[in-house]
């Protein structure tokens, strides 16, 4: 059976690479070597360390580049991976929000709660300026309820939709609950001046529409009655002024709603399933549901929705490292298809490709041209997923992350790998295959060593000898002898003319990275 029992002993290279690929935006050779000598607990102690909150970009227009910059420079920390996870969960679209500043503040919210309390984060999202615009929360008032946010709050962000078992009944909630939740959410407005500051996070938030004093003027002060799915809970203001709720009572209703929803076991399970699909594998079998999701959800609830204990339990488990049973068919090592974002950032991080100085216009231009634009061609328009539920890879049955791979997008991914090696003019950065090999391979004069050491890090699973021979003999050696490569390498060392070895090494890099194997992590 699948098991969350902790693994013991040092990780070794395979498990080291595994945890680094899943918990960060990808390792380099030294990271893999470092964690190979550590236990899972030692690795997590570093991965889960709190990080300092990065300063805002000088110009909010550069928010996207700034964000990708955080990923590139996040080292051995899980924080940016969790920020990305929260973005895939609470997705917003820039086209609708229309304010990069609002998106930046939302992003900082994800960072603030990266290793914190998920229920708190959900509350802050209910009050988030970007979300308030994205799902029409600002248009939702007591005279005309707008259900958009109320529906997605239940369907996507908290308890999740269950099987439809009758008219308007989705097991976990009903159409009635959507309408009643929308009433609870009524009467807020985004703050376009960003002057309303959340006292806990220090991050700008929305506000309750009011009369200049304590009276909430657009909130529906009536009694909201939820369905049997929520034990027929009622929510109403605890303080009224005439027929209006107070501002404090309006906010209190939000707490009542969150308590009601987060008191359901299914809410913890829904979030744990999403986390599992993001970090482990998309297929959740009845066995995984029972042995993994259930216990993780229990941990989540027992810790009042703190995310850290859940992550710790998963990342040190036998299940995470496929050592909970002898069956290979359920092994999930290397079974996640990288998103275009992870492909780009992970590749640049692995090779340590240098971008222009951080924060300069050249830096932002190179992220726009060299990362975000190619990602778009590969099917990931960052902050502009086609639909409200976000990128299909994280929710769309039955394919989930297979959605990243279409005929077109796969070819675009391959094309990008080739572009990276001749992109200085277009991207403002470039992967130099010769320099990488010269500085990182233990014996570059030995073709076998080059191929072996690159495969060890770049391809996430063991390959056959036939495959190895293809990379070595057909590609790197061009069907010539091992001795010939050695001669070529020393000729380059003697002459500084790298043209011959560059052609062969770039062919090898292309073959390794324009491969089905390299798409997986």
């Amino acid at each position: 059976m699948a098991s969350l029992n902790p693994v013991t002993g040092t990780l070794g290279r395979r498990r080291s690479a595994h945890i680094l690929r899943r918990a960060t935006f990808g390792p380099n050779k030294s990271y893999i070597n470092l964690y190979a000598g550590r236990t899972a607990n030692q690795a997590m102690a570093e991965l889960f360390q709190a990080t300092t909150v990065p300063a805002a970009p000088a110009d909010f227009e550069n928010f996207k580049g700034w964000w990708v910059g955080q990923m590139l420079n996040s080292g051995r920390s899980i924080v940016e991976k969790m920020v990305f996870f929260y973005h895939t969960h609470f997705t917003t679209k820039e086209e609708i929000v229309g304010s990069r500043r609002a998106l930046f503040h939302q992003n900082q919210l994800f960072r603030y709660y990266a290793l914190g309390n998920f229920k708190e984060l959900t509350k802050k999202i209910c009050l988030d300026n970007a979300m308030m615009v994205f799902l029409n929360g600002r248009d939702n008032d007591r005279n005309n309820v707008n259900e958009n946010f109320g529906r997605e709050f239940l369907e996507l962000y908290s308890i999740g939709k269950g099987l439809q078992i009758g008219a308007g009944d989705y097991t976990n909630y009903t159409e009635q609950d959507v309408k009643e939740a929308a009433r609870v959410f009524s009467g807020y407005r985004n703050d376009e001046e960003f002057l309303t500051i959340d006292p806990i996070t220090g991050i700008p938030a929305s506000y309750v529409r009011n009369d200049g004093g304590t009276v909430a003027t657009a909130h529906d002060a009536g009694v909201k009655t939820f369905s049997q799915a929520f034990q027929n809970t009622t929510i109403q203001p605890n303080t009224l002024v005439g027929e209006d709720a107070t501002v404090a009572a309006t906010l209190d209703e939000l707490d009542q709603l969150l308590n009601m929803v987060f008191n359901q076991d299914e809410t913890a399970r829904h979030i744990c399933r999403k986390l599992y699909r993001f970090l482990m594998y998309y297929e959740i079998t009845p066995e995984v549901e029972q042995d993994i999701i259930g216990p993780l959800a229990t941990t989540f609830r027992n810790n009042n929705y703190d995310i850290l204990p859940v992550l710790q339990q998963l990342f040190q488990s036998e299940h995470f490292y496929d050592s909970d049973n002898a069956i290979v068919q359920d092994d999930s090592h290397a079974a996640i298809i990288k998103s275009p974002l992870e492909l780009a950032v992970g590749t640049l991080r692995y090779y340590g490709v240098a971008l222009p100085a951080s924060g300069t216009q050249a830096f932002y231009d190179s992220i726009d041209n060299g990362i975000l634009a190619p990602m778009n061609l590969q099917g990931m328009n960052l902050l502009e997923p086609f639909e409200v539920a976000g990128y299909p890879a994280y929710h769309q049955n039955p394919d989930f992350h297979r959605n990243w791979i279409s005929h077109n997008q796969l070819a675009r991914r391959y094309q990008y790998m080739a572009q990276l090696m001749s992109s200085m003019d277009n991207f403002g950065f470039q992967l130099d295959a010769v320099a990488y090999v010269e500085n990182n391979i233990s014996d570059p004069s030995n073709g076998q060593v080059i191929v072996q050491e690159l495969i060890d890090d770049l391809l996430p699973e063991i390959i056959t000898t036939v495959r190895f021979d293809y990379f070595l003999n057909d590609i790197l050696l061009d069907s010539l002898s091992m001795a010939n490569w050695t001669t070529e390498w020393f000729a380059y060392q003697g002459s500084n003319d790298d043209s011959a070895v560059r052609t062969q090494l770039e062919s090898l890099f292309n073959a390794l990275m324009q491969s089905p194997e390299y798409q997986l992590q």
Binding site: L135, N140, N146, N148, E155, Q164, Y414, Q514, Q519
Partner: protein, 545 residues
Amino acid sequence: MKRRGFLKKIPIAASAPMVLNGLPIGLLAKGQLQQVAASSGNEKVLVLIQLHGGNDGLNAVIPIDQYAQYFNLRPNIAIPDNGSRGYIPLDSTLDITDQVGLHPDMVGTKSLYDQGKAAIVQGVSYENHNGSHFRSRDIMFMGGNYDDYFGSGWVGRYLDYRFPNYPDAYPSTEMPDPLGLEIGTTVSLAFHRDNGIPVAVAANDPEGFFDLINSTGGLPPDSVIDTHYGQELQWIMDIEANSNQYADRLKEVFDNGRNTPSVTYPETYPLAASRLKNTLAPQLKLIARMLSGGSKTKIFLAKIGGFDTHGGQVESYDPTLGNHAALLYHISAAMEAFQNDLQGLGLEDRVVTTTFSEFGRRAASNASFGTDHGNAAPMFVFGKAVKPGIIGTNPDLLNLDGNNVTMQVDYRQVFTTILSDFMEASDEAMVRTLFDGFLDKKLDLFSKLVTSTRDDFIAKRFKLNSIYPNPVLDRTTFSYYINTPLMVDLELFDTGGRKIRSLVSGQQTIGEHRLTFDLSDLKPGTYIYRIKAGPLDTAKKLIKI
């Protein structure tokens, strides 16, 4: 409204079949359809247009007989019933309970309707409608009930049956093309089979695709291990192999294809900022070109997004303008261009196009000049093979279900009718598609019994009546009927073709027009009176005594 009108319009099966010379009409029709299939080699093509986000049917197809109720439900977004931006009355020859107005930006749809190339199916949904975009979209893609959870889609199942052993046995001489083509970069659930890679290729740029495929990739792995990693690896390898197989062919077809030179596809919405680009038009243009280039792809999917109009569906200062208006314009204008293009290419008989959306929107509007998620909504079916008209009746706005329009037709009735009656799918194919439960609930969308159905349809809506009295002594009354506002020229000629008199010249409104003229000054003899009005160009004889 009562369901009377609706039932009347579904003559198929359920009740006893009509009998003609001892033969049930249903059987007769079926035999004829099969004959058509045998002779044509069945090159029928279905184009699906997904309206992503939930289209507001009530502002696209406005129930004229319940206008007051319609207005009361949505005063801040209601399309006016008069003025230059009032709704377009679609067809005043219909029963009053079926009469609808189209959004003023749906001129293209109106034009196609008047040419007998468009049908509207009212009240499409499914039982126990799901209010989630994603779930509802999936249900319509997979072709199931509200409580079904298939991993495959109805298009995938149909094509998987129609073309066995995909992808191994393809491309073949019979089917050199991808079975389905989704315009875009991903393949929707609709095209998924029960196992393995989907039946469709996603492409939006066949030339670029060819160059791309031929400049990327390498040798695939020689073996695959039996883990989750191995499953994902196999998926990627299969897509890569499939790309290599179809890249050359897609380019060949694209290069061989063309569009009708005289047809211009719309690019933007003329009444608003240029950012409101028509994203559907280039997709339909590509499909027309691929078909003219010899593509045998059976089912195409094009998409247009932006229908989730919770807020800002209309402009606060003018309910006829705004995002939804632009989208309806995009669909109508792109469809009209597409249909004209197909006509110019001689492909009109082969192609039927249908829209669908995950749901309609709430009958009552919200305060943000928008609408929340609703239930049933109309579907538009276009094509020369389509029997023009309206199926179903206007929604009953006095008897809504939770402020939602109720269902008249299951979406699978529409798809079943198209697959079975137009694509000529066998009953066995429909079993495999999981649509066999709808074979006895097909709609009257493709009547083949009367070949002149479309001509009759038009003749009823655009006609020049005979004058009365005739022969004419002094006064006589001319009358004509037009189903759309038009420039009308009614002129009198002598038998030598010389124009004697212009009787009517100018813009005229919908409906029957009667005009009495005193012709006592005419010399006795034979004359011709001729009308030119849009699709109407006909002449009749007048005798002066």
